[in-house]
Symmetry: C2
């Protein structure tokens, strides 16, 4: 027990100072979700492994944290199985439950399980931790929070409009400048069809998704490896290099896609969404980006991605429309659209750019210095009055040395301290000290309350 | 996949309606903690099993959820060990991590790990789920939230005073009437010493703790089983039957305890705490209860317990002072005092007594009915204005049948809907319908905003 205890790798303690900053981000996101009438849902940390397994690909299955069955966990394992030591095969026999890997699958499970109680469309948001047995590295953790909002059971493009409005409002409130990129999977499907490879949509999507990271040449290489001909790739080139105004891009893509059915639907949807967007002013850039692909294969309509204009860090928010989220649990034909904010990356951006308001880390406004029993009794009723007036405040509990008490106030970033010794008590007053400027004032309790509210 | 998916037994989904009520409780507790300058901390869901094991007794160890090591989890198990099938022995070889069982041990671990960064006294609160592999039953879950506040590194009884103040404020704000029972473990130690069994303090504590549940006779039986003589039990009787005012009780206990050192310290502490309490008015009953024992053995000073005056449900909040919380991790001599609110039981009390304010479950104030494209475009800018004025609101995204739209508004408990058809649009107005009274008004956008704020 002499060793200093630690925590599992890839996990974090959030000290009060860090947590206050994290909550500043979460609270802004939460308030915007609520303003748009999304309702908060929470699901258990543990799900049955049967719910989770097979939903995140083979790689994802490996990254699921499994919970050892209680008691005799080898109960279902036969002797030959035990001797075989095939842990991959054995895992589901010794563990029936796993930790939530994302918020999407539990949401789909919830919707299917409670379909008869839910009035559709169902607008839910969810801010909870998820766990992945990933190799920990800078900026990647084994426990991290996701902040998701989804509306399910509505095809209306108003939902897409509102997602863009929510993104714009969140980042405006966070005082960050971002670009909101929009594309539509149906346009990509139209393109795949037009270049003669409708069945290669996923390969095309995955390759284009890497354009920012690996550049045009390597994307071509990937497309070639996927079996797409050089002719088709050449034909594709103008699309990948597309720029200019929304109208210019749409004209070009219309010409390119031509008559393919999915492509035409994509054009109609995109034009309608942008006509909604045209009704409003946004604080951030919004652009159509035909090279935006988003890795996840389940998207089927509009897709979104947000990048910082001020710092290079990759996507800090993303989402899109999907047509079959709940199909995996047997409920077909429920369309939805959702968004997920990357709280950890947003935190890093805010920290880097120094955008947290100065008073984020301390909600405590004042500390009474404790000079001893008599002074304590003089301060305590006033402390109560401060609190009754909604002022977060405290008294140093022990009559320790002044230096220790001031150190406490300083390291907790408390902006004011109140002192009351013989003189102050005789006058029925307090010395109010501004910890930043060092300025001191002799004030009554009422004046102190006024100064702090 | 055709079966409806479920969740692990003992866990719960919190639907938006239930979660809003839970958050109502959490927010009140959180605000009071903050008002008293407690700072929020979060620790990871997973801890190393070496941190958790042995801290909750043998029974507790069995109830820890263990996380199966990733990959080849049998790596450290030898063939003979495997054949032995001793899963109790094998558990720590296949699982290095476990889920948090309470918030106290992770807090102690955090304090020891970060002792050089922390300015003491350290006042932290923590509201997070914990997991126990208990047999699920009514009111007992495998995943539940704890709401703890502790101050560590201060002996001052001001901390005890403030804990009582926090309890009083939380339950006042929740509109619940409670009794706050107070005792001091040092008084119990004095009693144990005085009846001649100082070494039986824990047996005495555990037995007295059950007084409410099993009655006096069975407590005597337990004491006898613990080896306490009939003479001693007879001598104890007046203490267990003690009633009357604080002063009467203290006089009796002073006479009883006499000169035992710990007992006298207990008397001094209790009198000082009550003299602090006498300085303030409380909304709830506060009483000294010498039969209050609190099960946990680590308490060493004041102990607290809160029961509802309106409904019989057991303790809904409890805590106390401990002198050696961090000793288990090698940091000795750090005294602290803490409190834990039982959110699940408080929820049940609130639900039973119907004490949640009516508007708890919906923060959404208004829904625009969607009559079609033209009407939509008329409503959307006004919807944005409402939101800009801080009004949580929405438009039904599809122009579905009126009945479906009204059903949505009803089941989401939205208090107002706004309708705009040909007539309203010509007049540049809206029909504002109060969903509870059925009352309708023709109003401008500005009037609507005014009516809703």
């Amino acid at each position: 027990m002499a060793n200093t205890p630690g925590i599992p790798k890839g996990t974090r303690d959030f000290s009060p100072e860090i947590l206050a900053k994290r909550n500043y981000i979460f609270d802004i996101i939460k308030d915007v979700f609520k303003k748009f009438a999304y309702r908060q849902l929470e699901t258990p940390a543990m799900e049955n492994l049967s719910t989770l397994t097979g939903k995140y690909g083979e790689e994802g299955d490996k990254l699921l944290f499994k919970i050892l069955n209680s008691g005799n966990f080898l109960k279902k394992v036969t002797d030959p199985e035990l001797q075989e030591r095939d842990t991959k095969k054995m895992a589901h026999l010794v563990a029936e439950k796993g930790l939530r890997y994302d918020l999407t699958v539990p949401f789909a499970r919830y919707v299917v399980q409670h379909q008869n109680e839910i009035t559709f469309p169902f607008k839910r948001f969810q801010i909870q931790p998820v766990w992945r047995a990933d190799r920990p590295q800078k900026g990647r953790y084994r426990e991290f929070y996701q902040c998701d909002a989804d509306i399910i059971g509505s095809y209306s493009l108003i939902n897409e409009l509102e997602i863009v409005q929510m993104i714009d409002e969140v980042f405006t409130k966070l005082n960050l400048e971002v670009t909101i990129k929009i594309n539509n999977r149906k346009l990509l499907a139209g393109i795949a069809e037009r270049i003669g490879y409708p069945e290669k949509l996923i390969d095309l999507t995955v390759a284009i998704d890497k354009l920012d990271k690996i550049g045009l040449e390597k994307v071509y290489e990937e497309l070639r490896l996927a079996g797409i001909s050089d002719d088709a790739i050449n034909f594709l080139e103008p699309i990948l290099n597309l720029g200019g105004s929304f109208n210019d891009q749409m004209q070009c893509i219309e010409r390119f896609i031509g008559e393919t059915e999915t492509g035409v639907t994509g054009i109609v949807e995109t034009e309608k969404l942008f006509s909604y967007l045209d009704m409003f002013k946004f604080n951030n850039n919004i652009e159509l980006d035909l090279t935006l692909a988003r890795g996840l294969t389940y998207y089927t309509g509009a897709i979104f991605e947000v990048i910082s204009d001020e710092i290079q860090i990759g996507s800090i928010c993303g989402g899109g429309r999907y047509d079959d989220l709940t199909g995996i649990f047997g409920l077909k034909g429920v369309s939805g659209v959702g968004i997920s904010f990357g709280a950890d990356r947003i935190f890093d951006v805010m920290e880097n750019l120094n955008r947290f308001p100065e008073d984020t880390t301390s909600s405590v406004k004042l500390m009474f210095v404790n000079f001893g029993q008599k002074e304590e009794k003089y301060c305590l009723p006033v402390l109560q009055k401060l609190r009754q007036n909604g002022i977060n405040s405290e008294i140093f509990p022990d009559s320790s040395k002044m230096k220790k008490q001031m150190k406490y106030a300083n390291s907790n970033k408390i902006p004011y301290v109140a002192l009351a010794g013989e003189n102050e008590m005789q006058e029925n007053k307090f010395t109010l000290k501004n910890m930043e400027t060092g300025e001191q004032q002799l004030v009554t309790a009422a004046e102190m309350i006024k100064a702090l509210t």
